[in-house]
């Protein structure tokens, strides 16, 4: 039962991502069923465009089109698996000056799992600043990088800019992602 639902939702997950890559997502009317189950931002951050097609990674036993989590973050993936990791979509945007804005949406299976991952210091280490993006986000400034983590439903979302001069833009984008209706 669970497996069937998961496979179906992952198929949909990939379809949405591909649509996003081709820039037609905003125009298309997605099926309500997977809108309820999965989330992807409908638009990119202001001034940035997708630098590459979205990448999709699953688990070792159920990899997605780009493979499994170890292809994505090597051994760092173990801690996500410990919290019920199901899949991640990796979005890379670039602006005119080649600054990167990265959004990774980790589907942790349940909201409880997402919360546990958010609380795990191996994922969100100590030393963060708390900011609001509509929900509590943990923000990290390691010059020149700025990134934050927050939760939306059953997803743990990681958003990162490689130029901290874009940190306000990132926060605004995170607010938009959080507010976005599924």
């Amino acid at each position: 039962m669970i497996r069937g639902r998961r496979c179906s939702s992952f198929h949909d997950f990939c379809l949405i991502g591909l649509a996003l890559a081709s820039g037609f997502l905003a125009e298309m009317s997605a099926e309500p069923r997977f809108q309820q189950e999965l989330f992807l931002p409908k638009t990119g951050p202001a001034g940035f465009i997708l630098a590459q097609p979205p990448e999709f990674y699953g688990t070792e036993s159920e990899p997605l089109v780009d493979g499994h989590i170890f292809h994505f973050i090597n051994g760092g993936g173990v801690v996500y698996l410990n919290h019920g990791f199901q899949a991640v979509v990796h979005l890379v945007y670039k602006n005119e000056t080649a600054d990167k804005l990265i959004v990774d949406i980790f589907d942790m299976g349940t909201a409880q799992n997402a919360l546990a991952a958010f609380a795990d210091q191996a994922i969100c280490p100590a030393g963060f600043a708390v900011i609001s993006v509509g929900t509590e986000a943990k923000a990290y400034h390691f010059e020149p990088d700025f990134f934050l983590y927050f939760i939306k439903d059953r997803c743990l979302i990681y958003a990162h800019v490689t130029d901290d001069g874009q940190s306000e833009l990132l926060i605004d984008y995170a607010k938009r992602i959080f507010k976005e209706e599924p």
Binding site: N74, G75, A122, I123, P125, F142, P144
Partner: protein
């Protein structure tokens, strides 16, 4: 001459006793010294090599590498230093880099990689230098343009072209194409009982894909990776990019240094010391010395992680 011989004969009983005692002492000393094969690790740091915007100074990177090679080999000048490490003009040198971009990018800075390839090019033609990673996409994500042409340093992925050796379960870049190897790791902490990701885990990207995940939980398997004949016999240098590293998963700092050594176990041990020194400063519990290093020393004889057997040369520029 005759006289000395006669005297030796006349002292024979005492001489025999003396010789026996001396021999005993020598044997004891040798026996005690059996495992004391010393390994040298060199670290070179410079506050000028990288700034707080993660920008690297090529000239300083080159100077650091030159200083490190000289300290490691005792030879002045890149050509002689590489010769001392066993590099010959006809060699094809593979450099396994770690293109790690999640979350903080820890891929080798282009300037540091250039310092290394320029240095190697004093001995081998540039096209005999192959920078490789598990996949072409990994290289591209770190800003390295794939190049499999016959001009310039080559940048290739294990997932394209060469294929994999069935026996060693390694990329044929390692087993066939290259005659020498450089293990170019990054200073990366992954925690959660897995410690750091340095020289041993760097070669995960050289393995057949099915074996890669085994390295994340199977300590013996991870230790055995560098014991594969091609990796063990062809590697002439282990070098770690620590210009910017992480001391916790996803938490970076500018250490501003590189680690060099021929012994991967001792070099990895030094990496752990560097990370732990920072963790201590930040009041974070030290990473324990991982099981795979002990296995690599005791079972596979890849080097030593016994502090008393390591000569650590620290250069501050």
């Amino acid at each position: 001459m005759i006289c000395r011989t006669r005297r030796a004969f006349s002292l024979w009983p005492a001489g025999r006793l003396f010789i026996a005692a001396a021999a005993t002492l020598v044997i004891c000393a040798l026996a005690q010294g059996q495992p004391q094969q010393r390994s040298k690790v060199v670290t070179v740091r410079s506050p000028k090599v990288i700034n707080s915007r993660n920008q690297v100074d090529l000239t300083e990177a080159k100077a650091m590498l030159a200083a490190g090679l000289e300290a490691l080999t005792g030879k002045r000048g890149a050509k002689d230093a590489w010769s001392a490490l066993g590099l010959k003009p006809a060699d094809v040198v593979g450099i396994k880099i770690n293109c790690n971009n999640w979350t903080i990018t820890l891929s080798p800075p282009a300037e540091l990689l250039q310092a290394l390839t320029d240095s190697l090019a004093t001995v081998v033609p540039a096209n005999n230098i192959i920078v490789y990673e598990a996949s072409v996409a990994d290289l591209e994500s770190s800003g390295f343009k794939p190049n499999s042409s016959t001009a310039g340093v080559r940048f290739i992925g294990c997932n394209e072209g060469a294929g994999f050796d069935d026996e060693e379960r390694l990329s044929r870049i390692v087993t066939s194409t290259c005659t020498k190897l450089i293990n170019f790791a990054s200073l990366k902490c992954v925690e959660q009982g897995r410690g750091a990701s340095l020289f041993f885990k760097n070669h995960i990207g050289s393995l057949v894909e099915k074996d890669m995940p085994k390295c994340h939980g199977n300590m013996d398997f991870l230790a055995s990776t560098l014991a594969k004949p091609s990796l063990k016999n062809k590697t002439i240098l282990n070098i770690c990019n620590g210009l910017r590293g992480t001391y916790r998963q996803g938490v970076p700092w500018y250490w501003g240094g590189i680690i060099l050594g021929q012994d991967p176990v001792a070099s990895e041990w030094a990496g752990y010391q560097i990370i732990n020194e920072k963790r201590e400063q930040e009041k974070v519990a030290a990473l324990p010395m991982p099981e795979y290093l002990k296995i690599a020393e005791s079972k596979y004889g890849l080097g030593t992680c016994t502090p008393g057997h390591i000569d650590w040369v620290k250069i501050e520029r």
